[in-house]
Symmetry: C2
């Protein structure tokens, strides 16, 4: 089967992306970084509540501290740039209010907005995402959902603060993948670092209590020695099931 140009380009980008543990000294142009961040922000995300943040650490003193918080691993130390990817579980109220504002603006300009959409942001989002202190409201919703769900299909999550973390991490990871692929498309490389001291990263960036750090992204131009192993994946049938 012959694939389109875009499909071939996308395959090239995905196949050539590797986690790079050693970078050349080449800088990454600011325009490239901004473009990649722009594309990250276009990722699909839960109810368009955009629970992500990207902290590009440029100040030399902070960068040095961040290297240490990344356990001084070679990927961090040699990276041209480091971007801290953050997931927030409590920015959804602000972002929901902004969605309502922008939807009402569109409506005022004559765009037809389905009633279901405005109802969704005015009523359903606050109901679905509020969990209350100690997830107590979430717990009550869980009981209600259980009984309601006996008779008919019903949405289950998020029903606790844990679910909210999973929720925020999920959308943020979708954006992180855009970010990594965007750098690859620009012929730059990344290393998504999870082996980090998230406590020190949070302190360094003065992140609020609801912030999670799914990864710190090292960015730069790959050194050949930066690829540790040939690409390894397990048996496809373990992961792809046709039912």
């Amino acid at each position: 089967m012959e694939f389109s140009e875009d499909a071939a380009a996308f395959q090239r980008i995905v196949e050539s992306r590797r986690s790079i543990r050693l970078f050349e000294k080449d800088p990454v142009p600011e325009a490239v970084i901004q473009h990649c961040l722009d594309l990250a922000l276009l990722a699909p995300n839960s109810s368009n509540l955009q629970p992500w943040e990207f902290h590009w650490v440029r100040t030399p003193a902070k960068r040095e501290e961040l290297n240490r918080a990344c356990l001084s691993q070679a990927a961090a130390n040699t990276a041209a740039e480091l971007i801290v990817c953050v997931a927030r579980t409590r920015t959804w109220r602000r972002n929901c209010a902004d969605m309502i504002r922008q939807i009402e603006e569109l409506r005022a300009k004559g765009t037809r907005i389905p009633k279901a959409t405005t109802d969704y942001y005015y009523k359903l989002v606050p109901f679905a995402y509020t969990q209350g202190p100690l997830s107590l409201l979430g717990f009550l919703k869980r009981i209600g959902t259980f009984f309601y769900g006996l008779a008919r299909p019903t949405t289950r999550e998020p029903l606790s603060h844990t679910d909210m973390k999973i929720w925020a991490i999920k959308s943020t990871a979708l954006a992180c993948e855009n970010l990594m692929l965007a750098f690859r498309a620009h012929d730059f490389d990344t290393c998504p670092m999870e082996g980090i001291d998230s406590r020190r990263v949070r302190k360094l960036l003065q992140l609020p209590g609801d912030a999670l750090v799914p990864m710190v992204l090292a960015v730069g131009k790959r050194r050949p020695a930066g690829v540790t192993l040939p690409r390894i994946r397990a048996e496809r049938s373990w992961f792809v099931k046709i039912v």
Copy 2:
């Protein structure tokens, strides 16, 4: 700034991807679906432990049940195909053993494998990812990590079953984004559905207890009416911080 061909292609793919809530009747060629799944499996993931699964539901009776578990939303009902994306927190032992097997095979064939890499899979992975019953081992590790971390930077997560869920969801979401962009690159469309009855989905696919369902992906050719709103994003400065 002039961008390369691949960067321009990637921008086209990302910008044209929208969550589509209404699909045409056109089928998606099997070769396209398999190719997109192949590219999903090349996503970066935590320690290469590949905690993902993709269940492509083709059997008509199961598909109908899955539509209902997706609350019979138009995206599900009109999609040419549905793929259930699953995150697993307990397949890492099997996948770690497979990594060791493949690394040893490479070594036997003469590839130089750094000692740190084999140590990582033989020792560090089992230590890092085992949480024990009721996360008890995780709790002990948390205490140890706290004191160890007072003096020097140290990896923090995963230290509980909740952390393991976050861990599995994160890598699976990276693959989901590859999957969605791959379909777009092939001029097909997707809708990542989270508003689903995960309980019914798990029952339908007989998923084991550790399986999470971050999303069900509707796949097909978009109808113009399938885009509900113009693309909306909040103020960039809320999400991109330069420090």
